[in-house]
Amino acid sequence: MSTQLAAGSTRPTKPDELLRLDGVAMHYGRGETSVTALAGIDLTVSRGELVAIMGASGSGKSTLLTIAGGLTQPTSGEVVIEGQWLSDLPSAQIAILRRRTLGFVFQDFNLIPTLTAQENVTLPLELDGWPRRKTRTAGLDALAAVGLKDHAQRFPEDLSGGQQQRVAIARAIVGTRRLILADEPTGALDSATGEGVLRMLRDRVDAGAGGILVTHDARHAAWADRIVFLRDGRIVDENVRDHPESLLAGRRTI
């Protein structure tokens, strides 16, 4: 472990900073057949901030997200979550961080087929030793937030694709998660349901969480405070929205 070294080698953490990537690079494979999925990414997400990531297929979005969530180790660079350098943490500590702090929505949902919707959602809480009652309430709250309270006892195979996706989202927001990383969380949803999910994510973020939203859909990216474009593993543009001008005539302006 190289706590001092790592801590001394990077910028200090700002108080409201939830996540920071410093020069993160990722190469899959070695030598001739090596693929550069990420080529030096610097990115921060603060409390109350939702960042959208857009980019063509294969540009590195999912790779970036799994690295940010501590699911994959980068080839080089640092990931810092709430001031903790992941490279300093033993894997047991990273696992705790993942089930307490992080909510991850996988592009392919990753539900456990032998568990009900509710059990899937509350799994991280149970692993964390939450009391039964509290776990149950939190699970139902999260399912209600995605409009699936009535489907709590169903198994994944008895749910439609869009419903499975919403269970995956419920799992990512259950309990006290502060950093939500969502990979195409609306891919299987119709436009009105997708908008409901975005509104819910936005509310969580406005209440003090932080999040990254990977999406191909500009309408969904528009819910973010910042839109980052990836091309060939590099950030090529960032769209920061400061204060909105009113585009609309008439009574309703903000």
């Binding site: 063509a56 509104r199 936005r202 859909d217 500009a218 309408r219 990216a221 528009a222 819910w223 973010a224 839109i227 090529v236 543009d237 769209n239 929205r241 909105p244 001008e245 009113s246 585009l247 609309l248 005539a249 008439g250 009574r251 309703r252 302006t253 903000i254």
Partner: protein
């Protein structure tokens, strides 16, 4: 033409005077396209000329009420039961800009696209924020406003999608060496065909399959 038909549809609910029509149009479209009184009276004049409305009573305050005719009522019915057809050849500022930019030497087309995408996304973000701040609709007027905002949001999204698509297409074309800028020429165009003909042609092809 939608202003003309909208005013007619409102008059189909009962006689109105000019300023009242303006208010009715505004509250039914979320006040997003405010009309001035001049436009209202111009439209009413034309509707009267075409026999779709007639001047009726004047009240104590001097408001002249306009009343719909049978022909006007038929016009409303036909408006509501037929699709709005957007002309395929309607000028689109952005499509023209991009098409021209592609033919010019020394223009970085991906920069042009990126600048536009930033602008379109900004619009989309502002619209979304505005809509989000307003919450659930609480009246028919709110609902009208949200419908219109949604339509602007979807239009902005379509623009971004088209830019993404164009960027990918241009990258392929560039890789295939097709991106040579056009020189000035005196020859008449060979390859252009009017959009209308193209559509008819495609329909024929589709029909013969």
């Amino acid at each position: 033409m939608s202003v003309r038909q909208s005013l007619l549809a409102i008059l189909d609910q009962g006689p109105c005077y000019g300023y009242q029509l303006r208010t009715e149009f505004d509250r039914r479209t979320g006040s997003i396209w405010p009309l001035n009184v001049g436009q209202i009276y111009n439209t009413l004049d034309r509707l009267e000329r075409d026999g779709l409305v007639a001047k009726g009573d004047t009240d104590e305050q001097g408001h002249v009420y306009y009343q719909i005719t049978d022909a006007g009522h038929d016009e409303v019915t036909s408006w509501l039961s037929s699709p709005v057809v957007r002309s395929a050849a309607a000028r689109d500022e952005l499509a023209i800009k991009l098409a021209i930019a592609v033919t010019l030497p020394g223009v970085d087309i991906s920069a042009v696209i990126q600048v536009q995408r930033r602008g379109s996304l900004r619009t989309l973000q502002d619209l979304t924020k505005t809509k989000n701040a307003s919450g659930e609709p609480e009246s028919a007027g709110d609902l009208a406003w949200q419908l219109v905002v949604d339509s602007l949001i979807f239009a902005a999204e379509a623009e971004v999608r088209w830019l993404d698509h164009s960027e990918a297409r241009l990258a392929r074309a560039s890789a295939a060496g097709l991106m040579a800028p056009m020189q000035l020429t005196l020859e008449p165009p060979k390859r252009g065909r009017p959009v209308r003909a193209a559509v008819d042609n495609d329909a024929q092809v589709a029909g013969s399959l």
